[in-house]
């Protein structure tokens, strides 16, 4: 019997061994492996997302520019249980064929890890009521409410930017994992830059669901649920009045207007033309408009105010005057003769008719080229410089401090830096230090390699208006303005030199190149520019600020292919100034206003 009693021990041993095998496998499944917990959550928990209203955007006077309207998406939840799905009923509900539904389901499930997909985006109001009513039979579908943008003032499209479905690329870069596929995100302009403020915070309610997809009670008694937080209202510096006005003035022309409040760096208006109306890019309209505008030959999507670069032309003489005075290269009393231009060797920089020996004030007033050719020589070839590189870099450093040749760093993206070449650039062309001011003479009158964006031109105007400093131009005006926009940038030019230069700019309007656009009662200071354009007609440029004392507005306007600065850019600038300061509904110069608004200048 001992033999068989051993067998009983063997049987007991075997029972324990098999039990241990079960316990080990359970340990692997339950404790060591995470994948079942993940699968379980995916199968049995549905997150119902509550989308908060996006923050409003209001102008500097509290006027609402952008608000929201309700929009609805029909979403489908995965895994999709085909067994319980009544295809025919569903087809009737959404008015599709079974093939379309199958196809849509396939597209909605972009990846097998997706828990939900977009089935119909932006359901119209009448469809919404109908579908919503019949949807209870299809627990795997649900409506998601989210808001679309609506525009009380249909202006400033490029500045405001637009909101649209997040792209795959943006999803991949979403490190906080805030967004889900099919959700919306600010794509450009302020909508993009201040996305994290505007979007608020999504709310999330976790529900248990059963094997048919029907929702049951709150998961974990709602302990993990969160409430949605409405997006922050974005107060921006735009003035709806002049933004709208500027868009009318420049309509039919190619170019841009940038107006800045000098004391703060706040952008009052940023106009670019040709443009589009922001509601064309509301989510419901985006599909039909985007590709049309993106491929339009006039490139209406480009924000010329920050991304187009132009030689500043004669407006740059303001900068040259300031550097010359600061460097001691010239004094307010320095005079250079101008005999119809500047002549050296075989080179002539032509000039137009004016009194023969201008000083700096008069040179600004009459836009004398010869004066600045001479001034440039004096700035670059001072005795203390060992070679041209030192002189050039000294000059260039003034430009850089004024925000030229670098991005200003405003709060809409895509801004260009303009172009202020390095000395190396000329070394390469002419040989190491084997060049002098004559080789680069065109830059002294704002031509040649020098390129600025309209915003940089407006910023020069603001800097002069402030007599020597500026704030980075920006739009945000909310309570917590980022430090980058409240830092004063001194440009390194003494206050007294501005008196001389500002007098010259004032004279431009009283009896200089811009005399015919002056407005009684407002002391505007300005400078015209007519930029030679090798590709076609000259660009018309004007920079200005007003009033002369305690300036309220600094502005730059570029009108492409429009000819003289005084004929197009200057009237537009001064009309803008008039509107901003007087805020009258009727201009004192209705004829000029009418001409600006109604003339179309085709791009050549």
């Amino acid at each position: 019997m001992t033999h068989n009693q051993n067998r009983s021990a063997i049987i007991r041993f075997a029972i324990v061994v098999f039990a241990l095998i079960l316990i080990s496998k359970l340990f692997y499944l339950q404790v060591l492996s995470d994948k079942y917990a993940e699968k379980s959550a995916r199968l049995s928990i549905r997150a119902v997302i509550e989308f908060p209203d996006r923050g409003l955007i209001t102008d500097r006077n509290g006027e609402i520019i952008v608000f929201n309207e309700d929009a609805h998406d029909l979403v489908v939840h995965f895994p999709f249980n085909k067994k319980e799905f009544e295809m025919d009923d569903f087809c009737r509900l959404v008015k599709m064929t079974p093939e379309e539904v199958t196809e849509k389901l396939k597209t909605a499930r972009a990846s097998r890890f997706n828990q939900k997909g977009l089935f119909i985006k932006n359901i119209s109001t009448q469809d919404f009521a109908r579908i919503q009513e019949g949807l209870f039979k299809f627990p795997q579908f649900s409506m998601e409410a989210r808001s679309d943008r609506k525009y009380k003032h249909n202006i400033a499209a490029h500045t405001l930017g637009y909101v649209a479905e997040i792209s795959r690329y943006e999803l991949e870069r979403d490190d906080e994992e805030y967004y889900d596929i099919g959700e919306n995100i600010g794509k450009s302009g302020l909508e993009r830059y201040y996305e994290s403020l505007l979007r608020g915070a999504k709310g999330k309610q976790l529900y248990l669901k059963d094997n048919t997809g029907k929702l049951k009670e709150h998961y974990n008694d709602g302990a993990d649920d969160t409430k949605a937080t409405v997006g922050t209202e974005l107060k921006v510096s735009l003035d709806v009045l002049i933004q709208e006005y500027g868009e009318k003035l420049i309509a039919g022309k190619t170019g841009s207007i940038v107006a800045i409040e000098p004391a703060t760096g706040e952008i009052l208006a940023m106009v670019t033309s040709p443009g589009y109306k922001p509601d064309m890019f509301a989510i419901k309209n985006l599909g039909k408009n985007y590709s049309k505008l993106a491929t339009h030959p006039d490139k209406p999507l480009i924000n010329r105010a920050t991304t187009s670069m132009y030689p500043p032309g004669s407006t740059f003489k303001v900068v040259m005057s300031l550097i010359g005075l600061q460097e001691g290269a010239i004094t307010p009393n320095t005079r250079y003769s101008c005999n119809g231009g500047f002549h050296i060797g075989g080179l002539t920089v032509r000039c137009h008719a004016h009194a023969p020996r201008p000083n700096v004030t008069y040179a600004i007033q009459t836009s004398c080229n010869a004066f600045y050719c001479n001034t440039y020589r004096e700035i670059l070839h001072q005795d203390r410089f060992e070679n041209i590189e030192e002189g050039y870099n000294n000059w260039k450093s003034y430009l850089n401090r004024m925000g030229l040749g670098n991005k200003l760093g405003t709060d809409i993206s895509g801004e260009k830096a303009g172009n202020v070449p390095n000395a190396n650039y000329f070394h390469k062309i002419h040989g190491q230090n084997k060049w002098n001011y004559v080789r680069i003479i065109s830059m002294s009158i704002g031509q040649g390699e020098l390129l600025l964006t309209p915003m940089q031109m407006a910023n020069i105007s603001a800097m002069v208006a402030n007599r020597g400093y500026f704030y980075t131009p920006h739009f945000i005006r909310s309570d917590n303005v980022p430090e980058a926009f409240t830092t004063k940038h001194e440009v390194g030019i003494d206050n007294q030199h501005f008196t001389t230069v500002v007098d010259g700019m004032r004279n431009v309007l009283t009896n200089g190149t811009g005399a015919y656009v002056q407005i009684p009662g407002i002391d505007i200071c300005g400078k015209t520019g007519t930029v030679q354009n090798p590709h076609g007609e000259n660009h018309s440029i004007f920079i200005a600020f007003a009033p002369k004392d305690n300036p309220k507005i600094a502005i730059a306007t570029v009108v492409e292919n429009a000819g003289y600065g005084s004929t197009w850019a200057a009237p537009i600038c001064t009309l803008m100034i008039e509107k901003y300061i007087n805020r009258d509904t009727v201009s004192q110069r209705p004829e000029l206003e009418k001409k600006m608004m109604e003339t179309e200048i085709p791009k050549k």
Partner: protein
Amino acid sequence: MSEKIYGQSRVDGITVLLYLLLVFCGFLAIYSSSHGSDNFSFDFSTKYGKQIIWIAISITLGAVLFLMDVRFFEAFSYTFFIAWMLLLFLVIFFGKEVNGARSWFAIGSFRLQPAEFAKLGVALALSRYVSDIDTDMKSLRYQLITAGIILLPIALIVLQGDAGSGLVFFSFIMVLYREGLSGSILVIGIIAVILSVLTFAFGFIAMIAALIILGGIITAFIYTNTRQLKIFWLVILACIGFTKAVDFGFSNVLQEHQQKRILVMLGLLEDPQGLGYNVNQSKIAIGSGGFWGKGYLQGTQTKGDFVPEQHTDFIFTSIGEEFGWVGSTVVIIIFVLLFLRISMLAERQRSKYSRVYAYCVLSVLFFHFLINIAMTINLAPVIGIPLPFFSYGGSSLISFTVLLFLLLRLDTNRENELDSDY
């Protein structure tokens, strides 16, 4: 213990305690998987309500056994056996078809599965036959009759279309092993299982080729004498014959869904939507339980009815999900304690009949326990057999209870037995 009632020992309290513990845990799991809503209402028309009734009936029947003369069962062992075999046979013709198997008698709303009770009949008959003083375990006749007692119900149940329940009867090999069946039969059994699995995996032709090549290699390298070689090649030939039989049986006897289940279980067929669906859902429910579980009535998979047949064959998933690894392990430990206790009870019987019967109980319970839990975690194919004392259903609970309590009844009478075999 020594107190006598009519010359009887006391009922083994430990076994009763373990039994009640398992039934209680089982009820908790059934309640969880079938209570539907969140409020703790109670309703006898629900699954858990009915289970209460089954529990009451089972315990009553268990108690009634103690009022009966213990010799009654031994005397009527064969009668029981024949009666249940008859029922198994009749159900093939008069049964109600459920899930492709004709294994239920339906009288009104009341349903009875004779296969569940047949285990008791076979256990009694086997105990009676094996313990019979005339039975010579060495003789072929003895072996054939023993095999017949086990194989007859298997054949009848397979004919009902419920091969899974039929497999249970193979567990009686454990009894025969304890009573002296040669260990080499077990070895042959294991080899047979390995050969079967390989045949499913690689097919009949490949298996023949492999066996012949293997034989050739062994013949070439381990050349001994001609007689041994002959025997060796006879074994190879037997293997080939067996392989052919398995192949034939697999494709002709087993139904298509059973073939698939086996292939899915062996990892030879991927099918998470179809047959693998149950196991996949079962693994998700158990696996998501984690170390401590999600808490009683908090199982997301259980609440959402994700596991098909959760209250019956997959009841363990509810334990796994809501009580985690700790709870699962505790349940397994309770089962193991019960098994060890039964084995102890078996060894203390003076009557061979009682001992054999005890091992019959042990082998049936252990097989159900092992295969049921193993199938929920994908260690065994999905064959529809219940987890003893846990799974919802009157037939299984009553039959397991009677099976166990009869052992307790025999155990109370152990002092009155004098067995010639000792």
